[in-house]
């Protein structure tokens, strides 16, 4: 039967390929490692915003070139990354925004995730308006005046109310609850991504159209446009304890790093690198600008920053 022959032939081919694979690798040299310790695999979660990409690729690049790790980047949402650390498919999250519920679940109860210290970045989440609006309506930065301006923010999506544009569905947000509990005549509409938010701000500033949107720092976009934050009722400790009853601003975040317990115990030199990794908002924004504005590939952007900042890198490696 011809079919059987064909199957046999494919089999022979595969066997041959494998046989060839077994013999020497010729002119291609193995990656050499600088340090004595073996690093092995390092799976870094990459969450969907540019600032995070900067963290991930700078650490990943150093781990590859200086420690000889076999780095792979996993594009996942925040909570999926936590889940991945718990199940062992992900080794580290390099920029964590709070998530007290997950800390309780994975760090305190399951003990599958370990805190690896702060990144040095200060995180702010809030509602922002484009600069032209803040100039024209100076009192808009007080949340008490938002209802006065609600009709300006109407869109086809907001059902007759003012529109509050949100980001990626996975981002940390209390916005729906805030609108409800502060009795604001607004409707949360989801933009879907950081790029969608930035695009909306750009077109709002260019066309002088009103926009109220969720945004955050550190973010490279502030170097292009000085967004103005709307002040919500002041954050006090514990005022955001019940997600459905929140009526205060977002807390200031000291962003931190996380590693899985399994990875922490593995003795990989990358564990120390991640623990030592510490930089400023400006550092991160610089790399992010390379990526988002200069359209460099994340790995190239990271390399550029690493080459320009040997001292900082050396401090993380000691």
């Amino acid at each position: 039967m011809r079919r059987r022959n064909r199957v046999a032939l494919v089999g022979v081919a595969a066997a041959l390929a494998l046989a060839l694979a077994a013999c020497g690798s010729g002119g291609i040299k193995d990656t050499t490692t600088a340090s004595g310790k073996k690093c092995g695999d390092l799976n870094i979660a990459v969450n969907p915003w540019t600032g995070y990409e900067s963290d991930a690729y700078v650490v990943g690049d150093i781990a590859t070139t200086k420690l000889g790790c076999n780095v792979s980047y996993q594009n996942v949402k925040e909570e999926v990354g936590w889940q991945g650390m718990s199940s062992g498919t992900i080794d580290t999250i390099l920029e964590n925004w709070g998530h007290p519920d997950l800390v309780k679940k994975y760090v305190d109860q399951q003990k599958t995730v370990v805190d690896a210290g702060q990144t040095g970045n200060q995180g702010i989440i809030g509602w922002y308006v484009p600069p032209w609006m803040a100039a024209k309506y100076p009192d808009i930065t007080d949340w008490k005046n938002l209802n006065k301006y609600a009709s300006m923010f109407k869109t086809s999506e907001s059902g007759g109310k003012g529109q509050l544009l949100d980001g990626d569905p996975s981002y940390v947000t209390n916005d729906e609850a805030l609108v409800k509990n502060l009795h604001l005549n607004y409707q949360v509409v989801v933009g879907g991504s950081e790029a969608a938010l930035i695009q909306s701000f750009r077109s709002a500033e260019k066309n002088k159209t009103p926009l109220l949107a969720y945004f955050y720092e550190p973010d490279w976009f502030f170097s292009e446009m000085k967004l103005v934050k709307v002040n919500l009722p002041k954050y006090t400790d514990g005022c955001d304890a019940d997600a459905a009853k929140v009526a205060c601003d977002y807390p200031p975040y000291n962003l931190n790093k996380l590693i899985s317990k399994k990875f922490a115990d593995s003795g990989s030199p990358a564990v120390d690198l991640i623990k030592n990794f510490h930089w400023t908002n400006d550092d991160q924004n610089l790399v992010s600008t390379y990526i988002a504005q200069d359209k460099m590939k994340p790995a190239d952007a990271a390399q550029k920053w690493i080459d320009a900042n040997p001292d900082k890198v050396a401090a993380w490696l000691k």
């Binding site: 694979a21 690798s25 991504s193």
Partner: protein
């Protein structure tokens, strides 16, 4: 859970009279129901709409969350999750990783994979020749080389790996299952509803539970691809075995063959052609799912498209979308050519897969491009066996040398950067799209506003602001009038399920978007379909475009739609139209062409105008095809509207996406998945029973 589902109040008094609706009464009855609805809406607006705000959860949602926590907690030691599922997960992850190291990922500590790009290229070309012949081999070589040119080498190869592993498993499970179903009524009755559900359930709905069980990564990707790609193979296999003529079986039976011999020597060989068509359909479905699997961190091109969506990178999405399209063309043509080769008599042609025959067997049979099954003109005789053997043998030596070379030289191992034009192309496309979006903004905005304010918002307020106790019986009444008792029965169950998920209002919003998009899809489909059905030339121009649109995986559409219309419900609708139009158009065209030529001739002889011909003769005669095309249109649109949750589509799709990425919303997301499935089944059944009752004039 069951208690909650059954606790739905039934409003018997609001249901229409129970006698079976006669065709000629349909229109007045429909009108009456709609009048009652609108009046009720005017009086009771915004009462009992069952709105559940985003952060609110029902007990059912919390119960799923608890269940999830228990599963996660027990996953470490439970025999089932740790022992069985854990082993499966580890196995798939290991398998994919091994193959990746062989072909696509650096095989640490080597800086490159075991087999470099040249080796992969020549090897795949050789496989193409072995299974499908010289022309396919050339197609494979060109396509695979383009992976590198597009700067998407690794991800393209990864996509191929995931797709082919899933197809291999599909064949291992699907063929025996299909054969068993063809031979045993009981198996068929038991399995068919499961296949129905697998096909109606939008892929998005089962990603989260799968990721929970199989973890994120290759393993989940393989499993979800499997779920999506298996049904077409099973169904077509069953269909193929069943279609072996009874006379043939009797003849064989009279020769005294055993059942086993009958299967192996008569049924399978005779159904072989159809089975290969099934494998073709399965492969195409697997490819389209392998992209969506990016949401569970599947390696491959899906990741790139998702990144492009996140960064509003139209150029990137175009490049990676194109890579997916050429993979689809390659797989489709190669499997089709393989099936033609497997046919001894070269005169026979593939029974058109899109034909209503197979179509009616399935709920959503992926109706995929059929370039290759278009008349193969002037088929050349196949080369002799000895000649082929010779070529294959020489080819093998070439493969071996290429692999060896690709292991020796870096430029043959990793695709040279100087040949990588991906970034250039992507930047050009992005520039063009920026320019175009800027230029078209006033027009697109006006269009968006017309549809949103004129159609979407009014309908949404009618559906979303009506009290549930009004809208539920209205839907049931419509189901009864259109589809009869069976449609009513299914709708009752589905409504009860939707009610039980606690997401009634969101389901109504999703339903609105689905209906609006379906109306627009049918408008386009009828216009295009009629012109295709009436003119060969129109057909040859439009069909390839439709084929291309069908090969593009659903969420690639979102990127340009998002660039043009911003994050709105309308964006989701536009993407849904792009996704639903090709299948609907083809079915309409088939229907128009199927109108008996004698009827058309007779009408023409009576001297009617072209417009009268379309309106009075061709469209009414093609009613069955129109209904079928609406049915398919609805299901395609629904699956896309759900994915539209990613770009501001809101409602159920957004809840599914959020449930996927936010811990405390897991239960709600899963409930939304259930609601979507129930909505899909309900719409599908109403449409199918309507087609069955009103299809034949």
């Amino acid at each position: 859970m069951t208690v909650q589902v059954l606790a739905r109040p039934v409003n018997k008094e609001a249901e229409p009279p129970t006698e079976r609706a006669k065709n000629r009464h349909t229109m007045p009855l429909l009108g009456a129901v709609i009048v009652v609805w609108v009046v009720g809406w005017l009086i009771f607006r915004n009462h009992d709409t069952l709105v559940l705000s985003f952060q609110q959860q029902t007990d059912f949602h919390k119960w799923i969350n608890d269940l999830r926590d228990n599963i996660q907690a027990s996953a470490q030691h439970n025999w089932f999750f740790h022992g069985v599922i854990g082993k499966i997960t580890t196995f798939f992850n290991w398998l994919v990783e091994q193959i990746q190291h062989l072909f696509s990922l650096p095989a640490f500590p080597r800086p490159v994979p075991q087999v470099g790009w040249l080796g992969v290229l020549v090897l795949l070309g050789w496989v193409g020749y072995a299974v499908a012949g010289a022309r396919s081999a050339i197609l494979v070589l060109v396509t695979v080389f383009l992976f590198g040119i597009l700067g998407a080498w690794q991800d393209s190869v990864d996509t191929l790996i995931i797709t082919l592993i899933a197809v291999a498993i599909c064949v291992i499970i699907g063929l025996p299952l299909g054969i068993a179903m063809a031979r045993n009524k009981l198996v068929s009755t038991l399995v068919t509803p499961v296949l129905d559900t697998m096909q109606t359930m939008p892929a998005f709905a089962y990603l989260a539970p799968l990721a929970l069980i199989f973890g994120i990564g290759a393993s989940s990707a393989v499993v979800c691809t499997l779920i999506y790609a298996l049904p077409p193979l099973v169904r077509i296999t069953e269909h193929g075995i069943r279609s072996v003529p009874a006379t043939t079986l009797e003849a064989a039976g009279s020769l005294g063959v055993t059942k086993r011999q009958l299967l192996r020597q008569v049924q399978i060989p005779m159904a072989k052609r159809t089975i290969v068509v099934g494998i073709n359909q399965c492969t195409m479905a697997a490819l389209s799912m392998a992209t969506i699997a990016a949401f569970v961190s599947s390696p491959g091109l899906g990741q790139d498209v998702e990144q492009a969506l996140q960064n509003l990178d139209v150029g990137g999405s175009a490049v990676y979308g194109f890579a997916i399209v050429i993979i689809a063309i390659m797989l489709d043509r190669t499997t089709t050519a393989a099936s033609e080769r497997s046919e001894k008599q070269s005169a026979a042609r593939v029974a058109s897969v899109g034909g209503p025959g197979v179509m009616l067997v399935t709920v959503v049979l992926e109706h995929l491009p059929r370039w290759a099954s278009e008349e193969t003109k002037g088929r050349r005789p196949l080369p002799s066996k000895a000649f082929r053997r010779g070529i294959l043998g020489i080819g093998l030596v070439v493969v071996a040398i290429s692999i060896w070379l690709s292991r020796q030289y870096l430029s043959l191992a990793s695709f040279p950067k100087s040949l990588d034009f991906g970034t250039d192309i992507s930047n050009k496309v992005s520039d063009f799209s920026d320019w175009f979006v800027n230029l078209a903004e006033p027009v697109t905005n006006a269009f968006k506003n017309v549809v949103t304010y004129g159609l979407l918002n009014p309908l949404q307020s009618l559906l979303g602001e009506s009290p549930f106790w009004l809208i539920a019986p209205v839907i049931l009444a419509l189901a009864l009038i259109l589809g009869g008792w069976r449609a009513l029965a299914v709708s009752v169950v589905c409504e009860a399920i939707i009610f039980g998920t606690g997401l009634w209002h969101d389901t109504m919003v999703t339903l609105t978007m689905t209906l609006v998009a379906t109306v627009l899809v049918m408008l386009v489909a009828v216009v295009l379909g009629v012109s295709m059905g009436r003119s060969r030339r129109a057909d040859t121009i439009i069909r390839p475009v439709l084929d291309t649109f069908q090969t593009i995986p659903p969420f690639v559409y979102l990127v340009p739609a998002l660039a043009l219309f911003g994050p709105t419900r309308f964006t989701a609708i536009v993407a849904a139209i792009a996704y639903g139009v090709p299948i609907a158009t083809k079915l309409v065209a088939d229907g128009i062409r199927g109108v008996a030529p004698t009827t058309v001739e007779a009408a023409r002889a009576s001297g009617i105008t072209r417009w009268q011909m379309i309106r009075k003769v061709q469209l009414p005669m093609a009613r069955e095809a129109l209904l079928l095309s609406t049915n398919q249109g609805i299901l395609y649109v629904l699956s896309m509207v759900v994915i539209g949750g990613l770009v501001g589509g809101g409602s159920l799709g957004y809840i599914v996406v959020s449930g996927f990425s936010q811990d405390q919303l897991f239960g709600k997301g899963l409930a939304a998945g259930i609601a979507i499935t129930a909505l899909g089944v309900m719409l599908d059944r109403i449409a199918r029973y309507t087609a069955a009752r009103h299809g034949r004039a």
